[in-house]
Amino acid sequence: MAAVRRRARGALTVTGTVAGNGTGPAADPDSCELAEARGYGLTAGDLRRWEPLTAIQIHWARKHGLSAGEARRWAREGVGARDAVRAARLRMAPEQVRPWAAAGFPPGDAVEAAEAGMTLADAIAWRGAGFILPDAALLVRDGWTLAEAAAARFAGVDRYASAGR
């Protein structure tokens, strides 16, 4: 029994456009948002101050010491609170995700890659071999090379594949 709300919260992380950046007038939260905010220990005032982040994102950001301003800066780059917290731990700047977005990666992938020590060139190579970034990052952290991973994933498909696929 889902409902449609009066507005799309968290729109910054969806479209990358400024749907509400905390400087303009904020729409009043609806009853569902308020109930959810209470669940996370937040008030209507918190929702307004953190516009346009959702209650769960506000909760996560506050819990990890990310300010509303920082969270918004990350959101404007298309990075949600979960990835923003990880990025802040790595001392990344929001602008660092732009090359990744320009290369067609979800902006949060820049954080995932940084945690695994992958460059954008690495990520593009892995993507070219058919690995989405989080999958590749986990493999890299485990010490896999791209050649090893590409060979391993086809091990059960074609035993007689020519070398160098």
């Binding site: 029994m1 889902a2 409902a3 449609v4 709300r5 009066r6 507005r7 799309a8 919260r9 968290g10 729109a11 992380t13 969806v14 569902c32 948002e33 109930a35 959810e36 209470r38 669940g39 996370y40 959702t54 769960i56 994102q57 909760h59 996560w60 819990k63 949600g80 609170a81 979960r82 058919g130 690995f131 989405i132 989080p134 999958d135 986990l138 493999l139 485990d142 896999w144 991973a149 391993a152 994933r153 091990a155 059960g156 498909v157």
Partner: protein, 410 residues
């Protein structure tokens, strides 16, 4: 894709394994309270350990080793007394803390002796809550048994349990896999029913957030926008082995190739007059169609079971090809690796609650809110699992009629 070593880390839950150590830090639902209306003992296997769950005449629940420490007789055939469980072989009696209370012949021969003080049986704490019996198999002190807010909602509640012949983790990966719903439950159902027409609305965007008790997955489909609660609120992959979408589905490892699916369901009732349910029925949901020998595919969770079992007893993740729809699955795996490391380092893992002030109607995000109105056209057929007993359906209908006829409370 994972290495076979990484796959083993996720899948193996026996004593001493990293995942076994992680899962043992949480209370696990293992049976229904109502099952003990008809029996005093029940043999159970949890994370590879063979145990006996019992209720003694004082009302204590106990979970002890399946085998008596005397000569290894099967305590599932033991009998309960005022306090504890007595072995049917030579009469040794054990309580729910594992103490040996009585050894009839030993005490006859050596009344002064205290041999029983030198004998213990493996025993784990058990607690009853929300119609379920929960076991804690980790180091003491145990964290608090979570008091989820949904347990307190007004409605008709029931529990359904099934044994699924595959590893627990492929079941739990389903809890953070939004796109499967479009195919496994919508499009496949339409195919099974032979209904023509267009495919179900397609997913166009996924999002994942984290909170204190797991992850929220969010989705936009061709028939929704970012203003829909499927995106704004989302659904919960409840840490570490549950799905919460207004009802709960726990996936408790029986051993490494079988899983106990424990479903806790609630149906809203009309009106607002107080409704107290004296007992929450617990029933066994079949997964195989006895006539055809195939897996049952008519109900939502049965369809999930078909997918999980189809992945093999333990899914071989060395051969998989993960795509954009699997981002949630990767998030879940990473968090599992992190939390296994946290436990190995001596830390409390994610989501354990130790503060009683926190453990009071603990909030979980829910689409539609916690107190949703009942549908106006009567109790709905149970859509989640095949095999709902007629008596449970009858109780639900009776509760509905009782509430529909009751005067409004306000």
């Amino acid at each position: 894709m994972l290495s076979s070593q990484r796959n083993k880390l996720l899948c193996e839950t026996g004593p001493g394994t990293p995942m076994g150590e992680l899962l043992r830090r949480y209370w696990q639902p293992i049976a229904g309270v109502s099952e003990f209306e008809r029996q005093d003992t029940k043999a159970v296997r949890v994370m590879g350990e063979d145990l006996v769950l019992y209720r003694d005449r004082e009302g204590n629940y106990g979970l002890v080793d399946r085998h008596c420490p005397h000569r290894r007789a099967d305590l599932a055939y033991g009998f309960t007394e005022g306090r504890g469980l007595r072995c049917n072989y030579h009469g040794w009696l054990f309580d729910h803390d594992g103490a040996c209370l009585h050894q009839p012949f030993e005490e006859t021969r050596h009344p002064e002796g205290a041999f029983r003080d030198k004998v213990r049986i493996k025993a784990y704490p058990v607690a009853a809550k929300a119609g379920l019996l929960w076991a804690y198999m980790g180091p003491r002190p145990a964290p608090l048994l979570p008091d989820w807010d949904r347990f307190h909602s007004r409605g008709y509640k029931q529990i359904a349990i099934s044994e699924i012949p595959c590893n627990w983790f492929q079941c739990q990966e389903n809890s953070i896999d939004p796109v499967h719903f479009e195919w496994l439950h919508d499009n496949w159902s339409m195919t099974l029913r032979g209904t023509g027409g267009p495919r179900a609305p397609a997913h166009t965007r996924l999002g994942f957030d984290e909170f204190d008790y797991g992850f929220v997955y969010r989705r936009v489909r061709t028939d929704t926008t970012e203003a829909h609660e499927l995106w704004t609120t989302g659904r919960v992959c409840l840490w570490p082995n549950c799905l919460y979408v207004g009802h709960f589905e726990w996936r408790v490892p029986i051993d490494d190739t079988s899983t106990l699916s424990v479903g806790w369901f609630i149906d809203e009732l009309p009106g607002d007059a107080p409704f107290e349910q004296e007992r929450i029925p617990c029933w066994q949901a079949p997964i195989r169609d006895e006539k055809t020998g195939r897996w049952i595919d008519t109900h939502v969770m049965n369809q999930d079971f078909v997918a999980w079992v189809g992945q093999g007893p333990i899914a071989d993740r060395t051969l998989e090809h993960l795509g954009e729809s699997d981002r949630g699955v990767i998030i879940l795996r990473k968090r599992m690796f992190d939390e296994m490391a946290a436990v190995a380092a001596g830390r409390d893992p994610l989501g354990t609650i130790r503060d009683p002030a926190v453990n009071d109607h603990v909030y979980l995000p829910i689409i539609g809110g916690l107190n949703r109105p009942a549908r106006g056209d009567g109790p709905q057929p149970f859509a989640f699992l095949a095999g709902q007993p007629g008596e449970v359906r009858g109780e639900h209908e009776q509760a509905w009629q009782q509430c529909a006829a009751a005067p409004a409370a306000r």
